[in-house]
Symmetry: D2
Subunit: 352 residues, 4 copies
């Protein structure tokens, strides 16, 4: 109830602070008999690692994931899988200076208000580092989905105001921004460099595409598939909006435009984004999320300290210009976790 678990039949619990001993995750409900190695999970970890290109921080996290339980002779046993990643290359000294100061856009103020105490080093529990556990659990969820021929791809639709015009999904893994439009990717690179010089940061829009999802996943009413996806994605710190299918555009459509007609071959368009009445309809699932700019900017900012005294804050240290594209793998992870959970829920009833 402290809010550090997610999912029902496939349930993850993350723990750990940015500058504490370690971060990790316990995954309960992974089906038995599936091959699983540290290497596979590591590969997914590496996708969210910083320091791989421009735009991201140069913190040299090695992020070596260790499987502590739940796997025996290379296979899952149905018991909880505990994954651990030690925090290395951690320097808390830049945070010492501002430990009594609330950084704008961060959770400093609200953690202090809620708990009366907070680990100020690197943002503590509110750090994006918490998503290490999500990405690790997501690697396992994606593998389960792959068995069912379901795949998930997150790509950058917009970054710093630059929008992808072309939709070439093969391009996504080719450029560093995970953008399906090569030209847009080049413009994004220029924009990132420009803004970095200004000591500022950028947001954007990520789209997540699920292919191969069978009809029938999702529980009607409160645990609608899009409701659980919205919760999972909104629980990622930087995300401020979620939409499915036509999303906010649907608000301006007529019913005759928005409804997807059905023909003998299936749905003839997909403005519903693959979900009707909270249940997957067999079409591609399409979700978009709004990512806000990273709040750690290095220019001077107005704020206050614990005693409400005005302070001019200037954050030092290594920081990304944008949560994109690192956040893309976290989006994939959350979508994968929701889908596995609903897959297991559907298995429970469909074959009694």
């Amino acid at each position: 109830m402290g809010g550090n678990s997610f999912g029902n039949l496939f349930r993850i619990t993350t723990w750990g602070e940015s500058h504490g001993e370690a971060v990790g995750v316990v995954i309960d409900g992974c089906p038995p008999g599936m091959e699983l190695s540290e290497e596979e999970i590591q590969k997914e970890m590496d996708r969210r690692r910083p320091g791989q290109g421009l735009g991201t921080s140069s913190r040299k996290e090695r992020d070596r994931v260790e499987i502590l339980s739940g796997v025996f002779e290379g296979k899952t046993t149905g018991t909880p899988i505990s994954l651990l990643v030690r925090n290395e290359d951690v320097d808390s000294s830049p945070y010492e200076e501002w430990k009594e100061v609330f950084r704008p856009g961060h959770a400093d103020f609200t953690y202090q208000a809620k708990y009366g105490i907070r680990d100020y080093r690197g943002g503590g529990r509110a750090s994006a580092r918490e998503t290490v556990g999500r990405a690790a659990a997501g690697a396992i969820a994606k593998k389960i989905l792959a068995h069912e021929k379901i795949s998930i791809l997150a790509y950058t639709l917009e970054l710093g105001g630059i929008r992808a015009d072309k939709m070439d999904l093969d391009e996504v893994e080719r450029n560093w921004f995970r953008c399906p439009d090569q030209q847009a990717a080049l413009a994004m690179e220029r924009r990132i460099k420009e803004v970095k010089l200004q000591s500022d940061t950028l947001g954007g829009i990520v789209e997540i595409l699920v292919r191969g999802c069978p009809p029938g996943l999702g529980e009607p009413v409160f645990d609608k598939l899009e409701a659980d996806l919205a919760k999972g994605l909104m629980s990622i710190g930087a995300i401020r909006g979620v939409e499915v299918g036509a999303g906010f555009k649907a608000a301006g459509m007529l019913g005759s435009q928005c409804n997807d007609p059905l023909g003998p071959g299936g749905f003839e368009k997909n403005d519903s984004g693959g979900i009707l009445g909270g249940i997957s309809n067999g079409e591609d699932i399409l979700i978009r999320v709004a990512v806000k700019p990273i709040p750690s900017i290095s220019m001077e900012q107005k704020t206050v300290d614990h005693s409400k005294r005005p302070v001019l804050l200037q954050i030092k240290g290594r920081h990304d210009v944008s949560a994109i594209p690192r956040i893309n793998s976290v989006c994939e992870a959350m979508v994968a976790i929701v889908l596995v959970d609903h897959l297991l829920r559907q298995k429970a009833i469909e074959r009694l």
Copy 2:
């Protein structure tokens, strides 16, 4: 796990089909000793009742709510509150003709795929009538919040492409569209009439404003306040997108624009929408949702039947032109339920 419950410490379970015997809700976790009458709940019910104006269906639901348990001598006792509303004025005959046909934009196809059986009358469980239970539970949640001086107001920001320019909250209860801009409300009325003649339907955008929320509500990580709000709102059938504070606009902002500076008097602007790191910061909470047009249009539509044979469907019967403004009270209800749940969760830890 069938997905018909919502909340943790304040937990609601709705049940009932559109043309079944009744619809209802069980509320578990309402604090004891609070005055509560059927009249109060009825008032909230009446806000979502159709047939009150143009744009909405003429089904004459009387929707008399009955308190069956949990209240003794006019006060809540801490035991579950069971609320029942009989389904009256129900005519299932228009649905007979199309009982083997999947209505586009509806959950017919997916319920059939998931369960292999469905109550086709009036959309069965997938009908908006399910929200009667939400609105009733919301009435109780709002009363609890009122004790804590927290208020919730949902209003229409956009309908059929017409957007409110002015933001006069006193105006909201004055016009039938719950629009804070009187001029826009008049234009909305014209638009509704126009579209009704075309046998078509409209969507829009609703904004929900929470005033008086103290800092500290929301659990970090997965049960962030905005994550639970997004789930609660996305679980309403017609909603296709949710955003908090600056929302999708944040994607195009610089960090220096998006961060809300703090001064001795508090936050100096509110692009965060009152939530930082998943926890309320004491500012107004601001959420917007995208409402799709009602899928029941009376013009001819292409679809298929259970045997995948093409059918030209023409839906008869009484239907609204837009889910707005009826959906506004359901939005208020879901937000209220989430807030009460987090209020109770916060009480549990803060005063040990």
Copy 3:
């Protein structure tokens, strides 16, 4: 979290007070496509009805169960099943006199301490009448189990100190005490009459036998099958102890006596009661519960009122001499609900 729900994938929520409008239950997670009628559920209701024989109260509850949702054209649809039973033949006047007095052995004192308010009429929510909803849900659970060839039988092992010597299960449905020993049943009848004349009440021991349970049900560690059974049974008001297999006798055994050897044909004895490591092993599941005497005795009792003033209480009205055998069907219901829940949980993982 108010504690009025039970189960995970098969989840019941009961509501209602003894002398309120009605009692009822919502069942979420019933698989779709199963035939279900009010008559079937009614039959189970009737088994727990009072006034059927000596020993039980003469309250003439007709207990007509009404299915309000979740069933369409005689079949379950996978949506929540709401069951309602109106409270009839209710006379609250005997409770008026003692409304400020704590009846010994009842929950009056603790409800007042917890909530600061209580519906004193007939025990309110703490009344055995709450189990109407359990028995109704149990009827559905048993039907699901019957599809899987699993059966449950609860019988009276001991009543008022008289113990069954013979174990003739065919006898159980033949005598009013549900005792597998005809001679013991006659002695129980004499004992009941005797104690009734003394204005006193009796307890006993009920054994529950599950036949046909496949191996593999139960989740290890916290949701062990016996742990969930213990919780389900201990949640019945009158039950003060639960044991599985050899139970408390195991405390005095040697390991070499207690272990069940395995042969090519299976387990060679069953001191484990059909559960090893929290998971069913395919043998009969055997559980025993201790039922305390009914606290409503008509002789004078020492107690206090809300102001802690001493009172000599003499309870009037209709009361059973023993919760046995009415409680037997509630025991069957709880065991059935636990087994269906674990059956669905097992389906979720076993066939991915």
Copy 4:
């Protein structure tokens, strides 16, 4: 849903196998601002450590607990506390020989039936080593209870058929068996030595006493305090029965004997065991559990292997003669966890 979590507002998740890398626990919901050190938790760990006396195995577990998160500058922060204990001094070789053989009384057969795969080394997940995490979490729960002046003491009422006659609670910490009767403790020691020579094992009865519990803890109906205690205790591998207050003795009592009269000074006796209607009444809470003999006996046993072939099994290696007294601290831990959970639940509603 894999069953490796327990509790609601105070929620623990254990993980790890006996001969895997490590075992551990994540505690979510610990209130912030409480001092907490590894040393304090270590002290509780040491109480359940084997090799401290006769009767228990000589495995030299050092069981060094490591706090990986949730504590900052010596105080809890409200974020999840992750505790890790590496598995040291592990020798899996004795298990190699029997890896395809089902040990009687163990979970080998049922894990194989459920999952189709199992870590056979040291019992894998079904090992008593899983309780390391429970004991560690229990240390934290007890500290929270101490703040509220609630204490828990588990002691040995019976071991190998020898029953404590005297009830001298000061004696409990003085003798190795945690027996409140010094003479009985000496007889227990003789019995243990005798049975050890016979290569056999012993069970017994543990009583748990809670002092200082305020009235009002426990949710009525399904989450009754005794129901949650029964589940928590029954989820400990060796426990086969649970009773509260008079327990099974209540089955033979008259109502007039069993009811606890109330006087101006409170309850005049305590056959209810401190719980009425599922809610604590302010008296001492008294629970007894039946502990079966340890199934790992070193004499020859009849069993089968994975192919159902008969095998004569002779288990080697280090094993305890009885789970008592090591299990006592695990019983205390589970009771503490249940009480903290209900304490937080009660806080949530009582002061709105």
